[in-house]
């Protein structure tokens, strides 16, 4: 569980996060949604420790990041997996080397043990026969899988994904979303996903945090999001006609 309390962050004069308080729950896929520029990435990077909040605290199962010693911070970092928006695979390394990288850097495992674990997670993300390929030889969807494999290889307790399915076709996007959700359940991970894809919301939105201009404007589950009267949420979720129709149909069904 990650508890965010009153987090504020400014860049110069621009206040980007204006006091965010929420919790991201263990074993669930937690989604941060909101318009472009609402502060999603800044919030995610604050959770990751790439940005330091000006105010407020972030606690990882009780451990407040900013109050940890350097050694404890490093320890906590090894419990974090991150899937970047553009996958961020090391392009000088093969798939196998990419996935094994965190193990090689931060564990005392032998080469054979690393190989075994790497093969296991590569299979887990359904990527066979790609071990020796370079990232540039893979499709976008395959790169995402490698990024997920690298993020989970060291058994993280916390998994962060910045728009994991941007740039993918809708079908592949859903496969990736489901994969993340399955892994979250399987290993009881606290997963936080940053997205503006409504398909993801409907597919895996167990807990949704809606940001608007740096304020947490609404939170709830995917069931609740279709019923809420919160104007900002309705405005965001039903910005397209297709979704407006779905909302009508859904509400009729419920009556």
């Amino acid at each position: 569980m990650i508890e965010v309390k009153n987090v504020e962050k400014s860049f110069g004069d621009a206040k980007v996060l204006k006091g965010i308080t929420t919790t991201f729950e263990t074993g669930k896929t937690n989604l941060i949604i909101g318009q472009s520029g609402s502060g999603k990435t800044v919030l995610l990077k604050s959770l990751l420790g790439i940005h330091t909040p000006d105010k407020g605290t972030i606690a990882f199962d009780g451990r407040i990041y900013t109050e940890l010693s350097d050694a404890d911070k490093r320890e906590l970092r090894t419990e974090i997996g991150m899937v970047f928006q553009g996958s961020a695979l090391f392009d000088s390394m093969t798939v196998e080397e990419n996935v094994g990288f965190p193990l090689k850097m931060f564990t005392t495992k032998s080469a054979a043990e690393i190989k075994e674990r790497v093969n296991f997670v590569i299979n887990r993300v359904n990527l066979q026969n790609a071990n020796l390929k370079k990232p540039s030889e893979l499709s976008g969807g395959m790169q995402k899988r490698v990024a997920i494999a690298r993020a989970i290889v060291n058994n993280p307790k916390y998994l962060f994904c910045d728009e994991p399915n941007s740039g993918l076709d809708p079908k592949t996007a859903i496969v990736i979303d489901n994969l993340i959700q399955e892994i979250t359940k399987e290993y009881n991970i606290t997963t936080v996903i940053n997205t503006h894809d409504m398909n993801s919301v409907m597919e895996i939105g167990e807990k949704i945090v809606f940001l608007k201009e740096g304020i947490l404007a609404w939170e709830g589950s995917k069931k609740e999001i279709f019923k809420t009267d919160n104007e900002a949420v309705v405005d965001f979720v039903y910005s397209s006609n297709l979704f407006k129709k779905i909302r009508k149909a859904q509400n009729k069904e419920d009556e």
Binding site: K73, R77, A88
Partner: protein, 247 residues
Amino acid sequence: MLVRYLSQIGRYFLMLAEIFRKPTKWSVMRSLIFKEIDDLIIDSLGIVAFISFFVGGVVAIQTALNLTNPLIPKYLIGFATRQSIILEFAPTFISIIMAGKMGSFITSSIGTMRVTEQIDALEVMGVNSLNYLVFPKLIALLLYPFVIGIAMFLGISGGFIASVYGGFGNSTDFISGLQMEFIPFHITYAFIKTFVFALILATIPSFHGYYMKGGALEVGKASTVSFVWTSVTIILVNYILTQLLLT
């Protein structure tokens, strides 16, 4: 404008300090160093050998053509070739070429890692990315004086071959010119310069790649800017070191 330059310079020195903090695991670092030796040093030998040999030849021919007065002894060809190659051509001229070759390679490879979030990925995992990326380059460039040594040797050989086989003088003259008034400190001076240039070649292009912003287009621009600053710095440092060491 001035403030911006000063803050850039400040950031450059902060970066230098950061390179040595929180070192990467030795087993990983070792293979990174070998890779950099391959990419930066071994890969440069061909072009360095080619340029040195032919420029050495040209220096000898030009000196010979300018010695039209029959009273001036022929061994001056060997002497002038030796002096210009050891003092300036090999250390400085080759380093400027390397600012283009190695420098743009370093800036574009680190810059690409920056724009594709690979550097963020390293940081999130808890890797000190400056140590991981720049330290192995610094170590690899400790071999740079060997490159310059080869340039000196081939430059003089080129001069010898051009002058003897081009009919500008005989080999005895050239060799006695090479040995004439030899000041060992000139070699020390040349290698002190080389060592400082190696540090510049490793760090300034890294700085421009590491702190770049933007996308693929900016990577190209950063390489150009990096070449300009690296060569300007080499020229200035060359002037300062010459003033300090030789006068």
